[in-house]
């Protein structure tokens, strides 16, 4: 193709939008190939583009339509939203942040995000705790022991105070809870998914009150790994700071002399 032919094509096709131009890819490819090697025609094409870009400017000159004054603020706000959604570029070193409204808005947004994450995490934890508690109750319902009525009075009461027990072993999913009620001396301790105690050892339950541990009983474990201890404290609604279920020889009087199975701390 000659330069003349190319310029005729450019003049004919320059005003056709991209979608229409794409309908004739062979011609467009030929034009592009020529422009890549012919500086004069490339400059000619750029001049055309500049001319066409001026057409809306000319329309703006003759039009009485005015740009809404509020629009700039909207556009700038959308930039803020975009910037907030994009990851920050790494900075070299650190400097005291200057006081400006944007910074504090960003900090506020970050705090809000952290609070939402914390709330979400807390809700997940609460949900998990509630489901575990339901599982413990279901286990207990199967036992139907003489202690059932006492246990339900404490466990099912809205006044119940709970201390959560988590597995102290990385390879175990054992868990449990210590329930007390402010207006009753009954203390109910439940645990589930417990491994069967090794030969020669039992699970002794230790509770700390006023900084002092007491061994409150040996927790029997059924074949499903469920254990229960119910006893009456010397006062209504005792508050225990810590609770330990320890695998140790029966009669051991030291909570630290053994393997912690589940543990909780207020």
């Amino acid at each position: 193709m000659t330069c003349e032919h190319i310029r005729t094509l450019l003049a004919e096709t320059a005003l056709v939008n991209e979608a229409n131009a794409a309908n004739n890819p062979a011609t467009m490819a030929e034009v592009a190939s020529h422009l890549a090697t012919c500086a004069d025609c490339a400059a000619w094409a750029r001049e055309n583009e500049r001319l066409f870009a001026m057409l809306p400017m000319v329309l703006a000159q003759v039009s009485e339509v005015q740009l809404p004054p509020h629009l700039k603020a909207k556009v700038m706000q959308s930039l803020e939203a975009t910037s907030a959604a994009q990851p920050k570029r790494p900075t070299r070193g650190w400097a005291w942040p200057q006081f400006n409204a944007n910074l504090w808005r960003k900090l506020g947004a970050a705090m809000l995000m952290l609070m939402l994450i914390a709330t979400f995490g807390w809700a997940l934890q609460l949900n998990s705790a509630l489901s575990q508690e339901r599982a413990l109750r279901a286990e207990y319902a199967n036992l139907l022991t003489f202690q059932q009525e006492m246990v339900l009075e404490v466990v099912d009461s809205p006044k119940a105070n709970k201390l959560f027990l988590r597995s102290a072993q990385t390879d175990s999913t054992a868990y449990g809870k210590v329930f007390v009620r402010a207006d009753l001396p009954h203390v109910v301790i439940m645990a589930a998914r417990l491994p069967i105690p090794p030969a020669g050892l039992v699970y002794q339950m230790w509770l700390m009150r006023d900084g002092k541990y007491d061994m409150v009983g040996v927790m029997p474990v059924n074949p499903q790994g469920f254990g229960l201890i119910v006893f009456d404290a010397d006062m209504n609604g005792p508050i225990y700071q810590k609770a330990l279920l320890v695998a140790q020889p029966a009669g051991t009087n030291n909570p630290n002399a053994g393997t912690f199975i589940v543990a909780g701390e207020r």
């Binding site: 330069c3 003349e4 310029r7 005729t8 003049a11 004919e12 320059a14 005003l15 056709v16 939008n17 991209e18 979608a19 229409n20 309908n23 004069d40 400059a43 000619w44 750029r46 001049e47 055309n48 583009e49 500049r50 001319l51 066409f52 870009a53 001026m54 057409l55 809306p56 400017m57 000319v58 329309l59 703006a60 000159q61 003759v62 039009s63 339509v65 005015q66 740009l67 809404p68 629009l71 700039k72 909207k74 556009v75 700038m76 959308s78 930039l79 975009t82 910037s83």
Partner: protein
């Protein structure tokens, strides 16, 4: 190599690519009205606001893609605006498109005021020259250019719309564009490349 002036479009676009809001604001002030008017005449005021937001958000996010070696900033930005407006315009029916394009054609047919040309900036003088050239174009050539640029119509669509042979449509557009180029060349002869002999032979 000559550096661009600090407030040139190219320099500002470079700063926008580095997330400079002041530079963005300056480019907005230069081009937002043209984008808005373009969209408002072809669509409606509400959609025109959306177009302005979309176009300038794209500028904010894609300024790094602008290459001054390949063309001027205004052409790059207006191409973004035109693509956005054409997409929306294609969804309107044929009668609507005819009506809005008639209005644009009428506006561009107005002879501009000749006073105070000497006080105008070079850019404004160029726009004035282009406005005058558009107004002085034969009606059929201006109409073909308006349908193609502002209507986003293909040559075949223009041919059908004006009930003219395809070759005639192409010739009208080519002649019209050539005249507009000459009008700008008159304002700034150094900015344009020499026209070929074929251009000089063009007749209306």
């Amino acid at each position: 190599m000559i550096d661009s002036p600090p407030d040139s479009d190219d320099a500002l676009a470079l700063r926008v690519a580095k997330r400079d809001k002041l530079a963005f604001s300056m480019l907005y002030d230069r081009y937002a009205r043209a984008v808005y008017v373009f969209a408002a005449h072809l669509l409606d005021p509400n959609e025109a606001e959306e177009v302005v937001q979309d176009v300038f958000l794209r500028l904010w996010n894609k300024a790094g893609q602008f290459d001054s070696a390949k063309g001027v900033f205004g052409a790059w930005l207006m191409q973004i605006a035109r693509n956005r407006v054409m997409d929306a315009l294609q969804k309107r029916n044929k009668q609507y498109r005819q009506e809005v394009l008639d209005e644009v054609d009428e506006l561009l047919a107005q002879i501009p005021d000749e006073s105070n040309i000497e006080q105008m900036s070079w850019e404004r003088q160029q726009q004035h020259a282009l406005q005058l050239a558009l107004a002085q174009l034969p009606e059929d050539q201006r109409r073909a250019i308006v349908l193609a640029y502002f209507g986003g119509m293909s040559h075949t669509e223009i041919s059908n719309s004006l009930a003219l042979p395809l070759g005639t449509v192409k010739k009208r557009i080519a002649l019209g564009v050539s005249k507009l180029r000459k009008a700008l060349q008159h304002i700034n002869p150094l900015a344009t490349t020499p026209e070929k002999a074929s251009d000089a032979k063009e007749k209306e």
